[in-house]
């Protein structure tokens, strides 16, 4: 048997199955369970990465039909570059996270059973792998829901907390409704193939069918709705900031980092591979939704004080950025500009893998904080840079990357996206000519707000003084997390850097995907000046070299440092300047709420904010209040706009239906009576 990417993938899947099978053996020995299963999972993920990279590189789709499934619809698997790319992304992060989990889950040992965690964690990763591999509607949905169920149980892992349960419930409901929409979308597509037999459900049959525009639109809208529900596109996002923080941090990392990407995969697969019709307004719609998602996501993120919630909202923002790219790709394809479409898609892919890396890293960092301090609220932390040097540095790298600062990776994808905006010529559509500048503007605004958000996150959490009640909380250096967790974070941090300084190579690797989907390539130009330079379209138009920026910064910093240290000047450590007060306390620091206050003021109209200030004055000197209460509550407006009405109207209908059954048998008999009379009239 010749070794091929698909066979390597099998290996990975078998290893996962093996891991799950091992769990019962070690259920009694929780520590061993952790030490066995998570390393196995990381190996399995690493194997998947190999398969993914390989399959993208060789660019020959492989497919296989399993002998299980429905009678005439066995499971179809297919590994093409698109799946390969997402397999790589998912595999990479789960590789890192599995290493991290080995250390992280040790914290649970002795406190609660991790058996479920291990099983569902493995199933979750397997589900994500299978989603990108599946090649028929039925198997896709099975994998999709496997992923959803597994993550649902993971969110509910600490099920004694009512808010976790609520979050998990909300998550599952939204996910399931989304899945139903996807199902219907596949129903439309399969229906268009004729659906003479079950084989109409395969993606292959759909690929070979030309869809009439009307049905293509229905299918696209349904699929987009379904996948958006998973991806957390505003206004379908509300579950996300609830569910992602509720899960254990390693799971949050996976959920935010890669599970959302499966939805992106779904959108791309359905739009560019299955439907292959590109009306302009689809692109415009996706673009607009992406913009709204990005800007609202990051604004909500800035408002959060819970670090994991903040990260979750930031994921919403990143999904928005990715959607912007997809929207542009659709627009350009509908105008038959394959090169620009390829550029946008490349940005999409790049941002997908980037976001997987830095969001994974950041969630792992948040997990490390939780692990060490048992706190999620930024306002109770501070000064941790002294106690957790590793975590803080790695979190800083994550923050820089996500803020799209060179030379790290976040910048590359955002840069590509800006290029796509700027290269778009005057298109023959007034709407787009308005939309594209507005889009660029909002994207720029988003990028800037992200930086503000992560300055806040890092600054409040790691810098300054400890804000908690007991000060100083902890002996120095006693908090740093263990080595598996550190390695689990170091690796994605390295990936952030590598992706940031070697973009041309990465783009060359993944260029086949966009070629296959939209028939355009950028790698020949993108890498035209060697691996050092990224020139997406032409050298004259734009170029960037992450490596040189990186080297330059290092060289100059070193140079200046050395120059300034030739002549020794002393450093005097002194107490803080206290402006003449008696004593400066940690409570005088800016905290999370006050940091975001200016931005809250500016964009306040977008939120449902309730601010309460109450002074309690003593009777002796009324002009000097002895206490001041401040209360701030920020709510997602979409709750009130969409979710509450839906739930309230459901209960309203439910009450009305309840009236049907009022206990009187006579009334029930009347129903029968009326039913039969109506039907008789109808039948006559």
């Amino acid at each position: 048997m010749n070794l091929s990417p698909l066979i390597v993938t099998y290996l990975s899947l078998f290893l996962i199955a093996f891991t799950i099978a091992l769990v019962p053996l070690f259920a009694k020995h929780q520590k061993i369970l952790i030490y066995v299963s998570f390393p196995l999972m990381s190996i399995a993920s690493a194997i998947a990465v190999v398969a993914g990279i390989w399959s993208v590189a060789i660019d020959t789709p492989e497919s296989v039909t399993l002998s299980i499934g429905l009678p005439d619809l066995p499971f179809h698997l297919r590994l093409d570059p698109l799946s390969g790319f997402f397999l790589t992304t998912i595999g990479l992060l789960s590789f890192f996270v599995s290493i991290y989990s080995t250390g992280y889950c040790k914290g649970y040992a002795g406190k609660r059973s991790v058996t479920h965690l291990v099983i569902f964690y493995s199933l979750f990763i397997a589900g994500m792998f299978l989603v990108v591999l599946s090649d028929d509607a039925f198997f896709f949905l099975i994998s999709w829901e496997l992923m959803a169920i597994a993550s649902y149980f993971l969110v509910m892992f600490e099920d004694e907390l009512i808010e976790n349960r609520r979050a998990a419930f909300l998550y599952l409901v939204v996910a399931h409704i989304g899945a139903l929409a996807i199902l219907l979308s596949f129903g439309v597509l399969a229906g268009a193939t004729g659906l003479e037999s079950f084989s109409g459900y395969t993606f292959d049959a759909m690929r070979q069918t030309e869809f009439p525009l009307k049905w293509a639109t229905v299918a696209f809208l349904l699929a987009f709705f379904g996948f958006s529900a998973k991806a957390g596109v505003i206004p379908l996002h509300v579950w996300l900031p609830e569910a992602h923080p509720a899960a254990p941090s390693n799971v949050s990392a996976l959920m935010s980092g890669v599970m959302l990407k499966t939805a992106i995969y779904g959108i791309i697969r359905v739009t560019f591979d299955l439907i292959r019709v590109f009306p302009l307004w689809w692109g415009a719609m996706v673009l607009i939704l992406g913009l709204i998602t990005a800007i609202m996501g990051i604004l909500y993120a800035i408002m959060q004080n819970d670090i994991k919630r903040m990260l979750a909202y930031s994921s919403v923002e990143n999904i928005g950025v990715i959607l912007i790219g997809i929207g542009l790709a659709i627009i350009f394809t509908s105008f038959h500009i394959p090169v620009l479409a390829a550029l946008s898609l490349t940005a999409v892919f790049y941002h997908s893998i980037n976001h997987a890396m830095f969001k994974g890293l950041l969630f792992m960092g948040a997990g490390a904080l939780l692990h060490a301090t048992h706190k999620k609220n930024m306002d109770e932390m501070g000064g941790l840079i002294h106690y957790m040097p590793w975590t803080s540095t790695l979190f800083l790298i994550g923050s820089i990357s996500i803020s799209a600062l060179p030379p790290f990776n976040g910048f590359i994808s955002e840069w590509l996206l800006f290029q796509a905006f700027l290269l778009s010529p005057s298109l023959n559509s007034p709407l787009l000519n308005l939309l594209i500048p507005m889009g660029a503007a909002l994207l720029a605004l988003t990028a800037a707000l992200v930086a503000a958000c992560f300055v806040k996150a890092f600054g409040i959490t790691f810098l300054g003084h400890w804000r908690g009640h007991h000060h100083p909380p902890l002996q120095k250096m006693g908090l740093e997390v263990n080595w598996p967790m550190r390695i689990g974070m170091i690796l994605p941090a390295l990936m952030c850097l590598i992706l940031g300084i070697l973009p041309a190579m990465v783009i060359e690797w993944m260029d086949k995907i966009s070629d296959e989907l939209v028939g355009g390539k950028i790698a020949t130009t993108a890498g035209a000046f060697g691996w050092l330079w990224l020139t997406p379209v032409a050298h004259e138009r734009a170029s960037y070299s992450g490596a040189i920026v990186f080297l330059w910064i290092i060289v100059v910093v070193m140079l200046v440092y050395i120059l300034l240290h030739i002549r020794k000047t002393a450093i005097h450590r002194v107490p803080l300047w206290d402006c003449g007060f008696e004593k400066i306390t940690p409570r005088m620091q800016y905290n999370a709420a006050s940091f975001s206050m200016p931005i809250r003021r500016i964009f306040g109209f977008l939120f449902n904010i309730r601010e309460q200030v109450r002074l309690s004055t003593s009777t002796i000197s009324p002009s000097f209040p002895n206490r001041l209460y401040y209360r701030l509550r920020i709510r997602d407006r979409f709750w009130g706009w969409i979710y509450r009405p839906i739930s309230e109207s459901s209960y309203w209908i439910s009450r009305k239906f309840g009236r049907l059954q009022q206990g009187y048998i006579h009334v029930y008999l009347i129903y029968s009576f009326i039913t039969i009379i109506i039907l008789l009239i109808f039948a006559r």
Partner: protein, 315 residues
């Protein structure tokens, strides 16, 4: 064989950036004194200030972390890098391809990011306040800045500053409404980004009005020197970005030594005039309340977006 000549020009430009930046600040301060009827400290006072700071010992707060000490170096390094990319005296810089204008904006974002973090590191109320305000201003100014430059780059169909300048130099001069909008926006943003009146006042340490100064309040000695110097370079660079995007005429388009020298002279002249313009604005306006700043920046953002829109609609 890589040509050595452009690298020499690159080196010259970096030296010019390093040396001219304090000079420009000195010039502005001098002008300001004259306008306000005071005696100025002289054109070279900024050099003296920086040198003095370099010779002083560093006083560091007890709880300052490595980040606090690392920031000045990084800020300085990044700023100088930006100085090597922007076409100031010549368009044929080897470094010009390292980063385009988006990357330059991102480089300034790095500076802001780390300065803000450093401001929060010590844990004083001032530092946090400065950082918070700085990020607020930055989050509005940065997109506006990008938009303003995007407008120019849409016209020239490139985002590389050198090529943008090249196109503007060689194309026939047309009065474009989009350019006018962009220029106006750019001026507003530059004032905000470089911490000038009416957004920030670089000359005072009045507690509640500080933004940039609040963040670097705890710095001393060489750290402060680096940050101050980097700040001066930043002012200088913003001016040169403006020149390169809107008035590039005079910048050398070849590696010819005469052209380069002409470029330097043009630069000095332009800077001189821009300094006067800056002072006119600064003395004509008063410092705004902090929550008026969003309106100010918002209008800049609006203007720059209008510029881009008018490119798509009118041109």
């Amino acid at each position: 064989m890589i040509e050595l000549y452009p690298f020499i020009i690159e080196a010259i430009q970096i030296v010019i950036v390093l040396l001219f930046a304090p000079l420009f600040v000195g010039w502005v301060r001098m002008l300001k004194c004259w306008f306000q009827g005071r005696t100025s400290a002289g054109l070279f006072q900024p050099y003296r200030g920086i040198l003095k700071l370099f010779h002083k010992d560093v006083i560091l707060a007890e709880n300052a972390s490595w980040l606090f000490r690392f920031t000045p170096y990084l800020v300085f390094g990044v700023t100088v890098l930006a100085g090597g990319i922007i076409p100031i005296i010549s368009l044929t810089l080897p470094f010009a391809t390292v980063a385009d204008v988006i990357a330059i904006v991102a480089l300034f974002a790095i500076v802001r990011f780390f300065t803000a973090l450093a401001g929060m590191d010590i844990g004083t109320a001032f530092g946090g306040m400065g950082s918070s305000r700085e990020m607020m201003i930055g989050s509005l100014a940065e997109p506006a800045m990008l938009m303003a430059i995007f407008t120019v780059s849409l016209i020239s169909q490139t985002t590389s500053l050198s090529n943008m300048a090249d196109v503007v130099i060689h194309k026939e001069f047309i009065l474009r409404p989009s350019m006018a909008f962009a220029l106006l926006a750019f001026v507003l943003i530059s004032l905000a980004e470089t911490g000038r009146i009416p957004v920030d006042n670089p000359a005072t340490h009045l507690e509640l009005t500080m933004i940039h100064e609040a963040m670097i309040l705890e710095y001393s000695g060489r750290h402060l020197a680096l940050i101050e110097w980097a700040g001066m370079i930043k002012l200088f660079l913003f001016t040169t970005i403006g020149i390169a995007s809107f008035f590039p005429w005079g910048i050398s388009t070849s590696v010819n030594l005469i052209n380069i020298s002409a470029g330097i002279i043009f630069l000095i002249l332009k800077m001189g005039f821009l300094g006067i313009g800056l002072i006119l604005i600064e003395t004509g306006l008063a410092k705004m309340r902090i929550f008026r700043v969003p309106e100010f920046l918002g209008s800049a953002f609006l203007l720059s977006t209008l510029g881009m829109l008018s490119y798509f609609i009118l041109e």
